[in-house]
């Protein structure tokens, strides 16, 4: 193993427990989660000197969130790249802390997408905001977000022989984890899931087709929710309450549709080698794979791009390893229940860091025995057209 850096660690975490939260605003969720995550770390409100935000609040978020929270941070980073924003933030927080620019970095997220009745997956894409060349070439075609990802699934099936049953195994594993997580069970109850139980591949492939070849159970929920992560310097870590979860590698990338390009390859193919290279570890050493599961196909593509298997072999990989917390081989996938069965308020990236940290502290409801290394890989934007990938490698002490 090459020498790993130990210059920043996740020291405080909190996930907003409700997925249906009428009467509370996203900003209030962010502030409540911030206070709880700082409490988890044994730090206080005034300790925060770095603020990271994905512009999910009103106005100029770096300014308005500082004012709303009551912070005067020395570092403000408002990188907004959709669901992967929080992996980008973690990467930047590590860099900023290592450079001595701040000591206690706070990442927050709050959303009331469910209560607002936002049709994230089944609304048309485009046609709002200022005119842009990209929007002008996409808006007329009725491409929903789900059909966007479904085009990747069709192409993956065409190139590699991947099947709906193989994709379904991803939903089966995450549902098994969700059933062990009381907050996920409550989420499915509150969001009126039918027949809340462990599911089979047959359940998935027999569920209603939403956008061929993706079925209802291939798709994540639309919930309310939020969370906060506190990342701190080694000197702060000495006094925090919980075991530190070190950020040992980070990578970020973009990918977009190109003439002659391959949409079965994601931005992860660029971000992951950078992150694993920095960490000095191999994908097969990873215990916990927290991978953005907006849809089953998202996970299939990312498993390949993160290097767990070769491109095109994701179907065989999920069949062989099962991806459960208690599978004897391979990584445990989305042990909180994932976006598919626990929490997806629009930008899931923060929950990937939260559950990875829980696993490396030994606090998960589907704990992988002896978990030492985790990867959190966020995906932002839309997989077929244009998206971001953020990879974070985490290690316990």
């Amino acid at each position: 193993m090459v020498s790993q850096t130990r210059d920043a660690a996740i020291v405080g975490i909190y996930e907003y427990p409700k997925r249906k939260a009428p009467g509370i605003t996203p900003l209030q969720i962010k502030a409540e989660c911030a206070e709880r995550a700082l409490e988890d770390a044994g730090l206080s409100w005034k300790d925060v000197d770095g603020l990271y935000d994905a512009q999910d609040g009103p106005g100029m978020s770096g300014l308005s969130l500082s004012e709303y929270f009551g912070f005067k941070p020395n570092v403000i980073d408002t990188t907004a790249v959709g669901g992967s924003s929080y992996e980008f933030h973690a990467a930047h927080a590590k860099r900023d802390i290592a450079a001595g620019k701040c000591k206690v970095a706070l990442l927050t997220y709050g959303s009331t997408a469910h209560s607002d009745a936002r049709a994230i997956g089944t609304g048309g894409v485009g046609g709002v905001g200022a005119p842009s060349p990209i929007d002008n070439m996409q808006a007329p075609w009725g491409m929903t977000l789900i059909s966007n990802y479904a085009m990747v699934a069709h192409r993956h099936m065409h190139q590699y022989g991947t099947t709906s049953e193989q994709l379904a195994r991803i939903a089966v594993a995450t549902r098994a984890h969700a059933m062990r997580n009381p907050e996920a069970v409550q989420a499915m109850t509150d969001l009126l899931y039918q027949d809340i139980r462990e599911i089979t591949t047959d359940d998935v492939v027999n569920s209603r087709m939403v956008a061929d070849p993706l079925h209802l159970l291939d798709c994540c929920m639309v919930s309310d929710g939020g969370g906060a992560v506190v990342i701190a310097s080694p000197e702060v870590v000495r006094d925090t309450k919980k075991p530190p979860v070190w950020i040992i590698g980070a990578g970020e990338a973009t990918k977009y549709s190109e003439n002659g390009g391959d949409i079965t390859v994601s931005a992860g193919a660029q971000s992951a080698p950078v992150a694993f290279g920095e960490a000095g570890i191999r994908p097969d050493e990873i215990d916990i794979a927290m991978i953005y599961d907006s849809f089953t196909i998202t996970v299939m593509v990312m498993l390949e791009d993160l290097g767990f298997c070769k491109k095109g072999e994701g179907g065989a990989f999920v069949t062989e390893h099962g991806l459960r917390f208690d599978s004897p081989t391979g990584p445990a996938l989305n042990t909180d229940g994932g976006g598919l069965s626990s929490n997806h308020p629009g930008m899931r990236g923060i929950f990937l860091l939260l559950e990875a940290a829980r696993q490396l502290r030994g606090e998960s409801t589907s704990q992988r025995e002896g978990a030492k290394l985790a990867v959190a890989h966020g995906n932002g934007g839309m997989l077929a057209t244009s998206h971001t990938g953020g990879t974070i490698i985490l290690a316990r002490d």
């Binding site: 089944t122 048309g124 060349p133 070439m137 808006a139 075609w141 009725g142 065409h158 956008a211």
Partner: protein, 136 residues
């Protein structure tokens, strides 16, 4: 209610949409490098050059990938029934997002790799949307 339309002023894509009024499918080429540029822009994404030429496509290509949308809550699409959104690779080397039309059953009649030809759908504004139907 009509489909979402391209909106202007938007100078990068204006020439493309202007040409659709005459049912011409245009794309750009960098004459120095022969790079094919699409979506339309003032500059080449490969070199930054602004010295680009417009060319007319024959409008023939193959389906790269597709999905049949069963549910879209947007008013223009919600009563349309299942329809196919697709990427089509034109023979000149550019990839366009579009719909596949002219098939009885999009679920079973659209295939990756199938040959298609442009078919124009005129809009109230005077522009036309390039869609693609199976080549005869």
């Amino acid at each position: 209610m009509s489909r979402p339309q391209p909106r202007f002023p938007e100078p990068d894509t204006q020439p493309f949409w202007d040409a659709t009024r005459e049912h011409k499918l245009m794309y750009q080429v960098d004459p120095k490098t022969n790079d094919v540029i699409f979506f339309p822009r003032r500059h080449s994404p490969y070199t930054g050059s602004r010295d680009l030429e417009w060319r007319e496509s024959k409008g023939e290509g193959t389906v790269y990938s597709y999905s049949v949308v069963r549910l879209n809550r947007h008013p223009a699409f919600k009563d349309l029934g299942p329809y196919a959104v697709a990427y089509v690779d034109l023979d000149e080397g550019f990839r366009i997002l579009t719909n596949i039309v002219g098939v009885a059953d999009p679920v079973n009649d659209v295939k990756i790799g199938m040959r298609v030809k442009v078919q124009w759908e005129d809009q109230e504004s005077g522009i036309a949307l390039p869609m693609f139907a199976p080549a005869r």
